[in-house]
Amino acid sequence: MDDTPPSHWSAPATPYEVGRLRRAATAAAAERGLDGRALDHLKLAVSEALTNAVLHAYPENGPPGPVRLEVAGEDGAVRVTVSDRGSGMAVRSGSRGLGLGLGILASVADFCEICTVRGEGMRVSVGFGCQTGC
């Protein structure tokens, strides 16, 4: 599979980019054959991953860093990857959010992988219509 090249976008990690990127990913996944409830769940998972980057990747009062979105796959098996170049996963006091986002993401995806490397940011990959990462 994966004869269709991935689609990808980059944008500042700001609240106002979340919707645009979410809709872009949803449209790209639909073009790759995902539909129905799986497509709804992909949309939700992408929004959670992007929101996590907006809230946690970069310092709250500093300029927003970049977030990158990639959609790959075909024939109804789709993988979405959201990556940033921020501070990675860390224990934070006064976190902005309920801590629900990544849990929701993991519960709706068929496949979920969260990778953080110190100093290099965080990468969240979710798969739909597949069990092993598409």
Binding site: P15, G19, A27, T51
Partner: protein, 115 residues
């Protein structure tokens, strides 16, 4: 790759809408479209407006026209519940089958949001 053009993906269906209605001792916040982290500032404003004047006995949050919601929406709803309790207003959250009800089911939060 450039982002898709808005008309290609029907952004008009995704537009977030927010309206405050007032009745006899009741305030109703009616939301529509896609509700995510970008909606938080207007949501906070309408909540303060709903509870900040006339101290309603009841607050209704109508989500039946919301087409998409995520944990940002849930975070706001917990604030609504906290502030309604503090103001002594009875809270009712209404939903329709679809994205919001699915999200409340996934997270098990529905019983915690309405009185």
């Amino acid at each position: 790759m450039a982002l898709p053009q808005p008309d290609r993906f029907n952004l008009s269906d995704a537009a977030f809408t927010c309206e405050l209605r007032r009745g006899d001792r009741v305030a109703e916040i009616v939301l529509g479209g896609e509700v995510d982290i970008a909606a938080r500032p207007p949501l906070d404003n309408v909540l303060h407006e709903a509870l900040g004047t006339d101290s309603p006995d009841a607050l209704v949050v109508d989500l039946t026209a919301v087409t998409f919601a995520d944990s940002s929406t849930l975070h706001w709803l917990t604030e609504v519940k906290r502030e309604a309790d503090a103001a002594g207003a009875r809270l009712t959250v209404t939903t329709a089958p679809g994205a919001v009800r699915d999200l409340l089911g996934i997270t098990g939060m529905k019983p915690h949001l309405s009185d």
